[in-house]
C-alpha cells in the first residue's frame, strides 16, 4: 500500500516538473457555439482566425467548440486565460455577458465579442452590418421567385435577426411588390432536424426561394435543393456547393482582416475598444458568387443594389409600416446602425410574429 502511494507521488512530481515554458508572442482564445465545420457562422469565424494565425507570427490559437451560451462559457474562457490567452474572441451572441464578466475581472486581457453592443476599456464589439446587406439578397429573391412566396428560417429571434428579415423583405418588395415573406422560428441557432422540417414547411406553403439566419445554412439549403427550390445562403461562402442547381447567391463573412488588425494591436499595445460594424464594401461582408440559374439582368440588379448599400444606402428610411399596418418609422426618419437591435416588428409583407 505504502509503495503504491509513494510511486504515485513520484509520478505526479515528475509530471509537474516537466511543464514547458510558454514562448508565444500572443495566445489567442476563441469560443464557438457550434462546430467549426458547420459550413456556416462558426466556420467563417474559424477560417478568419486561422488566416489571422498565419498572418501574425508567434500566435498560438486555443479553440473550444460547442460552448453553450450559458455561464459555462465563462469557465471555458477563464481556462483559456489560465493558459495564457491575452485576446479572447467570443464568437456567439449569447457569450456576451460571460465575456463581459471576465473582462471586468481581467483587465490585462482583451475581449472581442461578435454581434452585441457592450463596450469597455478592454472589451470591443464587432460584426458585419448585416441588415442593410440583406437588401440585395431580397432583390435577388424577389426577381427569381415565381410563386411570390419567399421563406425565411430564423434561429433565435433577436432584434438584429429580425432586422435582417426586414431588409430582405424590403429588398424583395422593391423589385416585386406582390412578394410575401413567410418566417418560421426554430428557437435555437442550430437544430438541424427542426431546420429541415421548417424548410419543408415553408416550401409546403409555396415558398420557392428559401433562406435562413441560423448558424449553418447547410440543412436548409440541402432541404431546398432536394425539393427543387432556390436557396440563398448566409454566413459562409462555402455553402454554395451544397446547391448546384438552386443556388442564387448569398452573404458571406470575411473576418480575417479585422482579426489580424486586432491581434496586432494587442501585441503592439494599441488596442482600442470600438463598436465595429462593417457592411458591404467595407471588408467584413461580401456577396457570394451567383449560381448558374441566375440570368444576367438579375445579376446586374443585385450587384447594383449591393454597390448602393456599400455606398451608404440605408433601407430603413421612413415611412415604413409593419405587418399590422402601424407606422413604425415615420416619414423623414431613419433607423441607423445603433437601432438595429431594436426590431421587434416585421415590415409589411412579412407573415409572422416578431414577439
Amino acid at each position: 500500500m505504502m509503495r503504491f502511494w509513494s510511486l504515485l507521488s513520484c509520478y505526479l512530481m515528475l509530471l509537474l516538473t516537466t511543464l514547458p515554458a510558454s514562448a508565444a508572442a500572443l495566445t489567442v482564445g476563441a469560443i464557438y457555439v457550434g462546430s467549426v465545420n458547420d459550413y456556416g457562422y462558426n466556420q467563417s469565424m474559424h477560417d478568419g482566425l486561422a488566416t489571422m494565425k498565419e498572418a501574425v507570427p508567434g500566435v498560438v490559437l486555443l479553440e473550444a467548440e460547442n460552448v453553450p451560451e450559458t455561464a459555462e462559457a465563462e469557465r471555458v474562457m477563464e481556462g483559456m486565460i489560465q493558459q495564457g490567452a491575452k485576446l479572447i474572441f467570443a464568437t456567439s451572441f449569447g457569450h456576451q455577458q460571460s465575456a463581459f464578466n471576465l473582462a471586468k475581472k481581467h483587465s490585462d486581457v482583451f475581449f472581442e465579442h461578435a454581434g452585441g453592443w457592450m463596450i469597455a476599456g478592454n472589451f470591443g464589439n464587432f460584426f458585419g452590418a448585416t441588415q442593410a446587406a440583406w437588401y440585395p439578397m431580397g432583390v435577388a429573391a424577389g426577381k427569381m421567385t415565381k410563386s411570390n412566396t419567399l421563406g425565411f428560417v430564423v434561429g433565435v429571434p433577436i432584434g438584429y435577426v429580425i432586422g435582417n428579415v426586414n431588409a430582405f423583405a424590403l429588398g424583395a418588395r422593391s423589385v416585386n411588390s406582390a412578394v410575401q415573406v413567410r418566417v418560421v422560428v426554430t428557437g435555437s441557432w442550430s437544430d438541424k432536424a427542426k431546420e429541415a422540417t421548417a424548410a419543408g414547411a415553408l416550401i409546403d406553403q409555396g415558398a420557392d426561394v428559401v433562406t435562413m439566419h441560423v448558424d449553418s445554412p447547410a440543412t436548409v439549403i440541402q432541404a431546398a435543393e432536394s425539393r427543387g427550390v432556390y436557396s440563398i445562403g448566409f454566413q459562409s461562402l462555402a455553402a454554395q456547393k451544397l446547391a448546384p442547381k438552386g443556388w442564387i447567391t448569398g452573404l458571406g463573412f470575411i473576418w480575417a482582416p479585422f482579426m489580424t488588425r486586432t491581434a496586432k494591436s494587442v501585441i503592439e499595445g494599441t488596442f482600442k475598444p470600438a463598436m465595429v460594424r462593417e457592411g458591404l464594401g467595407q471588408g467584413m461582408l461580401t456577396i457570394a458568387p451567383f449560381g448558374s440559374a441566375v440570368p444576367e439582368p438579375v445579376k446586374t440588379l443585385v450587384v447594383a443594389a449591393g454597390d448602393k448599400v456599400g455606398g451608404g444606402y440605408n433601407p430603413f428610411i421612413g415611412p415604413i409600416t409593419d405587418n399590422t399596418g402601424a407606422v413604425r418609422i415615420p416619414a423623414g426618419e431613419a433607423w441607423g446602425g445603433d437601432k438595429m437591435g431594436n426590431f421587434d416588428w416585421y415590415v409589411e409583407g412579412v407573415i409572422g410574429k416578431a414577439k
Binding site: M1, L12, L15, L16, T18, L19, G29, L62, E63, A64, E65, N66, P68, E69, T70, A71, E72, E74, R75, V76, E78, G79, M80, Q82, Q83, F93, G94, Q96, K105, G116, W117, V156, P157, I158, G159, Y160, I162, G187, G341, N342, D344, K355
Partner: protein, 349 residues
C-alpha cells in the same frame, strides 16, 4: 487484478464511509487508465491531459473553486434522489424539479425587485424550494394513490418543465434589453445569492451541505428516518404497524423535489443572474448516478459529487489543451459507471 486490488482495499478499510471513499478512488484510477487508452486511440496524449488537469484543476485556485461550483447542484439533486430511495421510491425527476424550482424562484425575483436583500433572498430561496416540491408532489400523490408509478411520472414531467421555462422566456418574461434574446430580465442584486470573494462559489454550496447533513441526521437520528427505512425495507409490515406509509411517500417526494428545486434556484440566482433556457446539463440525472453510486450515504454523496465534478473539469481542460470535444467527458463518466456496475454484481443496488 482489478478485483484483487478492490478486495484488498476492502480488507483495509472497515467503516462504510471509508469504504465508499476508497472505492471511489479505486474506480477513478481504473477508469482513468481505460480513458487514457481511449485518448491514445484518438491520437491524443493522455499524460499531457492528466498533467494539465492536475495543474489547472487542483493546483489552481480558480480551477478548484470551479470544482466546488460544479459540485453544488449535484449535492442537492442527489439528496433529491437519496431521500425517496430510502422508502423504495425512484425519483428520476431531478431535472424537471430543478427547472420548476428555477422558474418559481425567478417569478419571485422578478415580482419583487424592490425588496431588500434580507427579505428577497429568503423569498427566492423558499420559492425555489416550493417550485421543485410542487413538481414532485404530483408524482408523489399519484404513487401514494397507486395510480402511476413515480419513475414514469417523474420522467414524463422532466420533459414538460423545460418547455414551461422556455415558454416564459420566449414570451411573457422576455427581456426587451439585449436585443430580445430569449431570457428573462436580469435579477436585482438583492435576489442574487452571494458569492465567496472573487470566485463563483456561492451560498448554494451551503444549502447543499446543510441539506446533506439534514438528510444524514434525519435518516440516522430521528424517528421519521427509522420509519422511512422501515417502509423501504418492508412496506406491508410497516403499514400493519400503523406507519402512515402514504403520508411518508408524499412527504418524501415533496421534500426531495424541493431540494432539486433549490439546485435550480441556485443556478438562476447565483450563476446566471436571470432565467435562461439551458439551465442544466443533466444535473438531475447526474444526481441520480451520484446517489446511486454512493449507496444513498451522505458521505458517499459528498465524495461522488466531488468525483463527478473532477471528471467534468477534465473535459474542460481537454477541450482547450488537446482539442478533444467536451462530450468526451461523457465517455469517461460512462466508463467509470460501466466498471462500477460491472463489479457490483449480485443484483444489489
Amino acid at each position: 487484478m482489478q478485483r484483487d486490488f478492490v478486495m484488498s482495499l476492502r480488507g483495509f478499510a472497515t467503516s462504510a464511509a471509508r469504504q465508499g471513499a476508497l472505492r471511489a478512488v479505486a474506480v477513478a484510477l481504473a477508469a482513468l487508465a481505460i480513458f487514457a487508452l481511449l485518448l491514445l486511440a484518438d491520437g491524443k496524449d493522455p499524460l499531457h491531459a492528466y498533467r494539465d488537469t492536475l495543474v489547472y484543476v487542483f493546483g489552481n485556485a480558480y480551477g478548484f473553486s470551479e470544482l466546488l461550483v460544479r459540485m453544488t447542484p449535484l449535492l442537492l439533486t442527489s439528496v433529491a434522489v437519496a431521500l425517496p430511495s430510502r422508502l423504495g421510491l425512484i425519483n428520476v425527476g431531478g431535472e424537471g424539479q430543478l427547472y420548476m424550482g428555477a422558474w418559481l424562484a425567478s417569478a419571485g425575483a422578478l415580482a419583487f425587485p424592490n425588496l431588500p436583500a434580507w427579505l428577497l433572498l429568503p423569498l427566492v430561496t423558499v420559492s425555489g424550494f416550493l417550485g421543485g416540491a410542487l413538481w414532485a408532489l404530483v408524482p408523489g400523490l399519484f404513487r401514494a394513490a397507486k395510480l402511476v408509478n413515480e419513475t414514469i411520472s417523474t420522467l414524463l414531467l422532466n420533459y414538460i418543465a423545460p418547455l414551461i421555462v422556455s415558454f416564459f422566456i420566449f414570451g411573457p418574461w422576455r427581456s426587451a434589453e439585449s436585443s430580445s434574446y430569449p431570457q428573462s430580465p436580469a435579477f436585482v442584486d438583492a435576489a442574487r445569492l452571494p458569492s465567496l470573494g472573487g470566485t463563483r462559489i456561492h451560498l448554494g454550496l451551503l444549502y447543499g451541505l446543510v441539506g446533506l447533513a439534514l438528510y444524514a441526521l434525519l435518516m440516522s437520528r430521528t424517528r421519521w428516518g427509522l420509519e422511512m427505512r422501515a417502509i423501504g425495507g418492508n412496506p406491508e409490515a410497516s403499514l400493519r404497524l400503523g406507519i402512515p406509509v402514504a403520508g411518508y411517500l408524499v412527504a418524501a417526494m415533496t421534500v426531495a423535489g424541493g431540494f432539486a428545486g433549490l439546485a435550480g434556484m441556485a443556478e438562476v440566482s447565483a450563476i446566471q443572474g436571470r432565467l435562461v433556457a439551458n439551465l442544466s446539463p443533466g444535473y438531475g440525472y447526474m444526481g441520480f448516478l451520484v446517489a446511486w453510486l454512493a449507496g444513498g450515504s451522505a458521505a458517499g454523496i459528498l465524495v461522488m459529487a466531488f468525483l463527478f465534478a473532477v471528471v467534468s473539469s477534465v473535459g474542460d481542460i481537454l477541450q482547450i489543451t488537446q482539442g478533444v470535444p467536451y462530450a468526451v467527458v461523457n465517455l469517461l463518466m460512462g466508463v467509470i459507471l460501466f466498471i462500477v456496475l460491472g463489479q457490483r454484481g449480485g443484483g444489489r443496488r
